[in-house]
Symmetry: C2
Subunit: 356 residues, 2 copies
């Protein structure tokens, strides 16, 4: 494949992931496009519409593209038909490479389309948000929503490469930039307290962040995710610790339509609260202060029965517990079986505590 | 998984395929169901409606099922939504095994749904036609159609097992039973002349076939397909020889809505004709006589330009040749690059020759 030849010429730090995905940490998107055009690689780009508008000069040499609205509706199953129709109209066949440019929505759509269009064609990704840089694009999980139910249809398919052009991050809204730090803090909590130390002493300011330091931070997070996925590629056990803060987080995100980062921030506070009850050496104060540093919420008034319904909906009918992720200490997470009853009591206590 | 435990108890010839798929050659479907029910395996069945009607007593102990009409329309992309809705209604989650009972249509739908519902759940298959016994269910290719374009969306995903209960074949229409022998004759042509010898001396009669002999024949065909797929799991080169007779066959099938076996029979006669022109040691007479034995057509009046359009439609815009499968001798196939011009001339000659 032409693009592989190109990638080996780049003087950049690359690592192998899953024996397949290459991570490219200093790729300028427009240079990449030019070289691929020169080599005659057949490419169809999946581009977030807002990213295209904000960085139009980067996209002038692109011939075949499909534009994606960067909202959850684009992931609706019905839209799959639209993307396939466009690929057919553009005469995209198995000789093509698909390249996504966007956040988690684009990465989800791209991954699924890439893994089943014409029984699978290769795909690569340029993440344009903090969140997709460290999370959505790593590990190969993709998914489409079915009505209100998220990721009902999806596969686990690894991209050929993930390439980082940090200039994309500069067009993010301040709120969206900060939003990604919830997941960075999560990685610190579950696996590497060094990340929390770093965040405590250097504030990554919207638009004026030091690129090298941010790349180093991304690498730490990616290393954690890769190492966890390698231990558990099919999401059976240990990979669940990546869901730290996500049990309540997902329920809040889905019910109250707030951003992923904000919802996970609240979810992490709840998970801290549960961890503190198990083990008094855990303190949520440090986490709370870091979340505040990125203007992420640490409390929220939710409807307990609604949350219980959301959390337990997806579970097997004959089970009455969930796998809940707690911290044994900062930097070490584990799975705790929590009965629905216990979960409800803890949610009530958590709501009461924060209202004190 | 419970069903694996069950399978190891069966005293049957099983072979490993792709390190995953087990082939079970003497499984009674109703016994399988009973044992699985006893063990509490969570199963949702995908069943061809005609098969259910013809063998209703085999299905009395089944709780969760999705019925499939055994025609190409069921493979239309739009229906995927219907199957997913049914799975959600039946509360099918990742703890389930999907089991298909039917022909190639059911196997295509089952394979695709199994490979992407909830990011993949295991599936197994009971083929109920000759064709799906030896072809559709082997190799893990699945696909859904998009309007008139076949298999636009699909994956390559291996089933956990394929189990053969030959009593299903007894409810096939005579025509459908015979139809499967086109593919059996194909295997003989491309890889094992012994199959052709066997067919010459034993007629497999509709409804009264000797089960052991038919199983032996299936095994020979499956061995060929497995060995070819193992050499070329991603359909790059050698696997193409499985398309012997399918270039013209698919075009005729799609344009004139005749059965797969009949269309492939005509396609094989054309491929024989092309092979004869390369190598006078090939004679189409033997193939013709075998096809006649199973009431399969050996000539057909088609519209040449329509066929050209169908055959060249799916090719890259910048190529003007196709990979055409020819016989070097009976039992050995190879790939021949054929320009569009050459193909057209050969089709004209073939039509003329048969009208002599």
């Amino acid at each position: 494949m032409h693009f592989i030849a190109f990638m080996s010429q780049i003087k950049s730090y690359t690592i192998q992931f899953s024996n397949k995905t290459q991570l490219l940490f200093d790729t300028k998107f427009e240079d990449f496009v030019c070289k691929q055009n020169k080599q005659g690689t057949n490419i169809c780009y999946f581009i977030d519409k807002n990213v295209l508008d904000a960085h139009s000069s980067k996209f002038i040499n692109i011939e075949k593209k499909i534009l994606i609205e960067g909202n959850e509706n684009s992931k609706n199953f019905g839209n799959l038909e639209v993307y396939i129709e466009q690929l057919l109209e553009l005469n995209v066949d198995k000789s093509y490479l698909l390249i996504g440019v966007g956040g988690g929505i684009v990465s989800d759509i791209l991954g699924f389309v890439g893994s089943c269009y014409k029984r699978g064609i290769p795909f690569g990704f340029f993440p344009t948000t903090v969140l997709s840089s460290i999370d959505a694009s790593i590990g190969g999980k993709n998914g489409l929503n079915f009505g209100a139910i998220k990721n009902v249809i999806g596969t686990i398919a690894q991209p050929e490469f993930i390439a980082y052009d940090l200039s994309f991050l500069k067009s993010l809204k301040k709120e969206d930039f900060n939003d990604g730090f919830a997941e960075i803090i999560k990685y610190g909590c579950i696996a590497n307290p060094g990340i929390l130390e770093l965040l405590e002493f250097s504030q990554f300011e919207y638009k004026s962040f030091p690129e090298e330091k941010l790349i180093a931070l991304f690498k730490s997070c990616i290393d954690i995710k890769c190492s966890i996925i390698e231990q558990d590629p099919f999401d059976k056990e240990i990979r669940k610790i990546l869901n730290y803060g996500h049990t309540l987080g997902h329920a809040i995100e889905s019910e109250y339509k707030i951003s992923h980062g904000k919802a996970v921030a609240i979810g992490m506070m709840f998970a801290c609260f549960v961890s503190e009850k198990n083990n008094t050496s855990i303190s949520s104060l440090k986490i709370k202060s870091l979340l505040n540093q990125y203007f992420l919420p640490t409390s929220f008034s939710f409807d307990i029965e609604m949350m219980m319904q959301k959390i337990t909906h997806d579970k097997k009918m004959n089970s009455n517990f969930i796998d809940f992720i707690v911290l044994e200490k900062l930097g070490k997470a584990s799975i705790q079986k929590l009965s629905f009853e216990n979960l409800r009591s803890l949610l009530i206590e958590f709501l009461d505590a924060k209202n004190d």
